[in-house]
């Protein structure tokens, strides 16, 4: 475990972990100390991390999906109905101009299409993607490979205590410096 002098307040701080249980310990210890303004980086999604940080609160992406589905279904059904009303072909057999069964096919497709596109938009909005200018501390190739990380983009005043918590929890590297971009 490397030990470093605490970085100055306002700069970035990065802790790198090799083990998932050490990372979870670090998150727990930071929460115990009342520290919450940090980002966890991981090469894979882990429910334990999400549970500790978000306490099972569902992602708002679902509202985008619901809105998109309702919007798409309504739009396509309206398009089909208004098209046929605008160009009324009199079909033998007394079939109605606005006929539910054939229009259900395109309505279904429109619902799925728009629900998917709105889910994509929801994902981009909620994740902040494209993430064009990430803090330097997050640009560590190990976080997409085999390491986990805790990053403070702006270290609070009690930096010394935070460094101590991170090192004590099992971070094998704690580095600071680099003003927030």
């Amino acid at each position: 475990m490397s030990s470093h002098a605490a970085p100055a307040a306002g700069t970035q701080l990065k802790a790198v972990y090799k083990h998932l249980d050490s990372l979870l310990q670090g998150i727990h210890d930071l929460h115990e100390a009342g520290v919450r303004d940090f980002t966890v980086l991981s090469p894979i999604p882990r429910h334990e991390i999400e549970e500790m940080l978000y306490k099972g609160e569902p992602s708002p992406v679902r509202w985008f999906t619901l809105f998109g589905g309702l919007l798409g279904g309504t739009m396509i059904f309206s398009l089909a109905s208004l098209t046929h009303a605008n160009w009324p072909m009199i079909i033998p057999g007394g079939k109605p101009l606005v006929s539910i069964p054939p229009f259900l096919v395109v309505t279904f497709e429109g619902t799925i299409l728009w629900a998917s596109l709105m889910t994509l938009i929801g994902l981009l909005v909620m994740c902040g993607l494209p993430f064009t200018d990430p803090p330097a501390a997050m640009e560590d190739p190990r976080f997409t490979n085999d390491c986990f990380g805790i990053v403070f983009t702006r270290v609070p005043k009690n930096a010394e205590k935070i460094v101590h918590i991170l090192e004590h929890s099992g971070a094998f590297e704690v580095t600071g410096g680099g003003a927030h971009g």
Partner: protein, 444 residues
Amino acid sequence: MSKELTYSQVNRDVMRPLFSPSMAWHALMALVTVGLAYGAFCWGIQLIWGLGVAGYHPPVFWGVYITTFVFWVGIGHAGTLISAILFLTRSRWRTGIYRAAEAMTIFAVMTAALFPAIHVGRAWQAYWLFPYPNQRQLWQNFKSPLMWDVFAVSTYFTVSTVFFFIGLVPDIAAVRDNTKGFVKKMYNVMALGWRGTDRQWRHYMAAYGFFAALATPLVLSVHSVVSWDFAMADTPGWHSTLFPPYFVAGAIFSGCSMVITLMLPLTKLFKLEAYIHTWHFEHLAKLCMFTGGILTYAYGTEYFIAWYSDNMYEWGTFTDRVFGKYWWVFAMMVACNCTIPLLWWFKKVRTSFVGLFAISIVVNIGMWFERYNIIASSLAHSFDPGAWVYYTPTYIEIGILIFSFAWFFLWFLLFVKIMPSVAIAEVKETLRPPLKHDEEAAAK
């Protein structure tokens, strides 16, 4: 997945084949280029001279092009089936193979999408298929199954592409972190600057689940809608409520076979045996056996209903398929789809490289002939005996069929050199995470 694998080893193994094309890759690309050139020549002739150069003969105006369209849409079923339905059912065997299967889906639908444009002859007017405001105030008929098909295939393509791309994002970020300079910048753009933060993973996992749930009904609906292109018409041999499940089963059958055809050599060439085992291919073969069984049952049901309905047109078409001029197409279909795949019931065959590879190719040939059998034989032997003809494709149509395979393999070959063919993040998810507790226990 092997327990000995580590996260960093997964990164190394999956990224190793990227960027350094082998001789085999160059040879395949050369073959693809020849196919593309010949196909482009044939299509060029058709664009200049019109559809008369195809073998159409009244009343047969749907032939090789629509057959090939349905074939490629069918191939495009397996990827989303494996990535979406098996994701929702938490089938662990999908992990190693789903990325390449998804890519196959996208490229198969891209190939299928060429055919409406080729088939209409005046390819530059193919956009008339889509509803758009125009000065003629002429709109499409939303009660037509051909219109439903446009919506079904374009929606399937869009949703599958989004699902595929979203699945790729964390892995592209992993590739980015292994590259330098301009290439790194390009991968960073494609990865949308992904960093794997807690916020990103949280919304990503929620969205991924929604994409899977939305793509699942599409897998079942798209080929049902394609089947209505035929079943909604009163042509003998087509007008059947059996068509949607029959087409969906056939699509999964051919799609999974194509996954086997593509993934077996890929696994060997890229040395991915640690991630894609015989076990994966055996599961795919079992899926083919199941859907092939449904297909055989559907073939039998068609004949039973044609006989039981006592409709002379229907029965006439079905007997003509067996004893008429198209007997060889019917024989190919039954041999390749019903008989030869029975060999997969032997474990030894469905776990051997040759057994899997050879039969998967046979199934793909059979499934192309199945569509040809449905389309050509029905139109050539319709209600009026005076209009019965024997349609055979011309060299132009065969050239464009070759073009479709070359086009498909062009994209697939480019994909395997640019993108990770195995889902890095998802493979890691199946491994035991690195734990200090484990290391301490091992040290004791």
